[in-house]
Symmetry: C2
Amino acid sequence: MKIAIPLYDRFTALDAVGPYEVLQRLPGAEIAWLAHEPGPVGTDTGKLRLYADAAFEDVPDPEVVMVPGGTGTDAVLDDERLVGWIRRAHETSEWTTSVCTGSLLLGAAGVLEGLDATSHWLDLHELEGYGACPTDRRVVEQGKVITAAGVSSGIDMGLVLAAKIAGPEVAQAIQLGIEYDPQPPFDAGSTEKAPPEIVELVRNVAAART
Amino acid sequence: MKIAIPLYDRFTALDAVGPYEVLQRLPGAEIAWLAHEPGPVGTDTGKLRLYADAAFEDVPDPEVVMVPGGTGTDAVLDDERLVGWIRRAHETSEWTTSVCTGSLLLGAAGVLEGLDATSHWLDLHELEGYGACPTDRRVVEQGKVITAAGVSSGIDMGLVLAAKIAGPEVAQAIQLGIEYDPQPPFDAGSTEKAPPEIVELVRNVAAART
C-alpha cells in the first residue's frame, strides 16, 4: 500500500512524523516522501530537515494521501503543483487525510466541499472558505476523507486509519509497539482544558508571528 | 539553550521528533541534529531520512542531550564516537535525556549507574546490564537524567523537561500549541492495558526481527 506524504517549505515535523510512525508499521506499507524536488525540506522553524525521495508527480496514484500542516501552509495554498497533485491523487486514493493546517490544502484542492473537517484550533475558522464545516473534534471522518486537529493529533488519526486499513488488532499492536499510553504532565491540550491565560498567550504568540 | 539530538543509522523517527517538536518551541532553543557525519540519516525502516547538520564532535557542550532509540541502537552500543560523545557531553550538560532504547546508550556511556531508568517495554530488562534499576514508569526523573519509555513517550518527557527549563506556563502553552490532547481510539498503549494476545503478537514480531 503506497502512502504518500507531501512536504513543503515550513511544514511542521510532528504533523508528518506522527502518522508516519503509525502507518509505516502497517504490513506492506510503502511510504513515499514527496516534495517539489527530491532532497531536504525545511520544517517550520528551519531547525530540522526531512528528506523527500521524489517529486509530487513521481507518485501520482498513492492509496493513502497524508498532508501535514505547518506555518508554511498559507504560502502554498495557491501552489498548483502541490494543490493540483492533491486534487488528482484524491480522485483515485482510498484515503485522503490531513493533520493540522494540512486540511486547508485539502480545502484548496476542493476535497472538503460540503464536508465536516478539522484543523489546528487557531485556523479552524479558515475551513469555511473552502465550503467545509469546521468541526472541533480531534479526528473527523467523512467517507474516505479524514482530517485531524493540530500537530500531535496525527498520531490518533494514524491509529484510526490503521484500524480501518488493517483491523483493530493491528492498530492496537502498533499502539503498543510505539507505547502510545499518553501521560502528559498537564491537561492543557485544548482550548477547553487550558487555563484562559495560556490560550491568550498562544493566540498572542501566533498573532505576532503572522 | 543548545539542545543536541544525536542520530545514528536506524533510529526511530518519532523518538527524536516528538521531544524535538516540544523543545524547539522553548524560548531561545537552538537545536543541533548530530550524526557521525553531516547529511541524511536513515530511520529504522529506511523509509525516512532526517538531516544531520553537524558531526557529534562539532557540538561538545550542549545544555540538553536528547538520545533517541531505535532498532539500530544495539549496533552502536560499542561505538565509541557516539557513546564517548554522550559520556563527555553529560559531564557538562544541564539535562541528559533519552527516549526508548536511547537509554541503553546512556547506560553504555555510564550515565545510568545506580539510577532508576526506563526504556521501551521490550528492552527494559537490558538496563540492568548498565547498573540501572529498570522502572516501568513512562518518564523517570533522576536528578538531571530523564529517561522515557517507548517511542511516543518522548512527547510527555519533552513537556516534563520544558516545564523544568521554562516553567509550567510555557510548557502548557507548548502543549496547547501542538494541541496535545491525546485521544487514541484504543487503550492498548502499555502491556498492562493491551489484550494479552496483542502483547504476544508484538513480542513475536519483535523476536522475528532480531
